[in-house]
Amino acid sequence: MTGMERVPMGPPWSIDLIADLHAGVLPPEVAAQLRPRVEADPEAREILQALDATLEDLQALPPIPMPDHVAARIDAALAAEARPSAPVVSLDEARKRRNRRLGLGGAGVLVAAAAAFGVVLAVSPGTTPSSNDAQPAPTTSSSKPNAAPPLAVKESELGSAVGDVLKAQNFGPLETPDRLAGCLKGGGITSSGNPLGISPITLDGKEAVMAILPSGLAQYRLVVLDPKTCGPDKPEGVLADTTIKQR
C-alpha cells in the first residue's frame, strides 16, 4: 500500500473500528500504530475483551449432528440419483421404450420365422397379431420391465415397509409426481417437494402405492394410495394416512 493511511484519532474509537482492528481488517501499518494506543485505553481494552468473549461463545457452540431422518432422506435422494434410469425417466417413457423394443423383437421373430416358414407366413398374415399376443400380457397397468414383485404389506403392519420404501423413488402405477400430487390433494394432504420415498406395494394383496412424505421434525407421513381410484377430488383413493415418529 501507500503507507499513507491515516490512523484514526482517539480515544474514544467506535466499536466498529475496534472490531476491525480485532478482526484484522485494517492495513497492517495502521493496525501496528493503533493497537498500542487502543490497548492503553481502558474502555477500548474492554471492547477488545468483549470481542474475545464473543468469539469464545461462538467457538463453544456445540456441533449439531444431522438428524437421522434428514440423513435417510438425503441417502435416498442420492441413491435415486445414482440409479441410471430412475427417477428421471418416467414409467410411461420406459413402457414406450419397452414396447418399441418388443416391436423390434417381434419383427426379428417374424423375420426369423419368415426365413423358416416364409410361405406359411406369406399366406397366413393373420397369424402376425397373434405372435404379439403371445408376448406375456401385462396383468396390470403397473407391470414394469425387470420389475420385482411389489412389496407385500399388511394393513396392520404398515411401518414394516418404511425402510424399503425410503430407498425407492418408484411411482409405480401413479407414474408421475403430478399424479401423486393429485392423489394427495384428493386426500387433503399437503406436501411440499418430492416424497422421501415411494414404491408400488400390495396392501393385503391389493395393488397400491406407498409414499413417505416429510412431516416436520423427526417424523414422516406415511400415505397409501389406491392408484385406480385416487385423484384430486377423490378422497376415497387414500387407503391409509398416518404419521410415524422417528425412533
Binding site: W13, I15, I47, Q59, L61, I74, A79
Partner: protein
C-alpha cells in the same frame, strides 16, 4: 472401491469414474458439519434439509466440474452455502429481526447464572438476529472454524470482505450477548463518515 481410508479427492474421482457409492460416502463424512452450517444459516430445519438435498444432488451432478486445486470440502461447502443463500434470497418474506430496543449491551439474562446449555441457546438466538451477510461468514469462520481464505472461496467474496463482515457481526453479537457494558456501548462514538470511507477502502484487501 470406497475404502474408508480414501481421501475426499479419491472419492470424487471414484464417483466420476462411476462408483455408485463414492459420493454417498463423501456426503456421510461431511454431512454433520454441512447440516450445522445450513441450519445455522437458514434457521428452519425443513428448509435446511431441502437446501442440503438440493445442494448434494447438484454437487452429485456437477462433480466433474470439481477442480483439484480447491479442497473437496470447500467446493462442497460452497455449493451448500449457495443453496442456503439462494433460499434466503428467494424467501425474502421473513425480515431479519432487529436488535432489541432495550439498548446495546443489555444482556438477555445475567450470564453468571446460566448453564452452558442456556448460553448456547442464547448465542444461537443472537446469531439469528444478524443479517444474512454477516451471519454466513460468522458461522463459517467463528463457529465452524474455517479459515478466512476458505470462507472467502465458499462465499465468493474477497477475504477483506469476510474479515469486515465478521468484525461487524462480532460487534453486534458482543452487544446482544451482554459482553459490552451499557456505558461503553452508549458512550462509544458511532463510526463517522471518515471511518466508513476508510472501511470501504480497506475492505477489498
Amino acid at each position: 472401491m470406497t475404502a474408508a481410508a480414501s481421501s475426499d479427492a479419491d472419492l470424487i474421482s471414484a464417483h466420476a469414474a462411476g462408483d455408485p457409492y463414492a459420493f454417498s460416502e463423501l456426503v456421510k463424512r461431511h454431512r454433520d458439519r454441512m447440516w450445522a452450517v445450513a441450519l445455522r444459516t437458514l434457521r428452519d430445519p425443513e428448509e435446511a434439509a431441502d437446501a442440503l438435498q438440493e445442494a448434494f444432488i447438484s454437487a452429485f451432478r456437477a462433480a466433474s466440474s470439481f477442480r483439484a486445486e480447491s479442497q473437496v470440502t470447500t467446493w462442497l461447502h460452497r455449493i451448500v452455502v449457495n443453496a442456503c443463500l439462494d433460499r434466503m434470497r428467494r424467501r425474502q418474506t421473513r425480515p431479519t429481526v432487529p436488535l432489541p430496543e432495550a439498548g446495546p449491551g443489555e444482556p438477555v439474562a445475567p450470564r453468571d447464572a446460566m448453564s452452558d446449555r442456556e448460553t448456547s441457546l442464547m448465542v444461537q438466538e443472537a446469531l439469528m438476529e444478524l443479517p444474512e451477510e454477516q451471519r454466513a461468514p460468522i458461522v463459517l469462520v467463528d463457529v465452524e472454524g474455517y479459515s478466512v481464505a476458505e470462507t472467502a472461496q465458499m462465499l465468493g467474496i474477497a477475504e477483506g470482505t469476510v474479515k469486515s463482515r465478521c468484525a461487524r457481526g462480532r460487534a453486534k453479537l458482543a452487544k446482544v450477548l451482554g459482553h459490552l457494558r451499557n456505558r461503553i456501548a452508549d458512550a462509544n462514538v458511532p463510526a463517522d463518515g471518515v471511518n466508513v470511507q476508510e472501511q470501504r477502502q480497506w475492505e477489498g484487501r
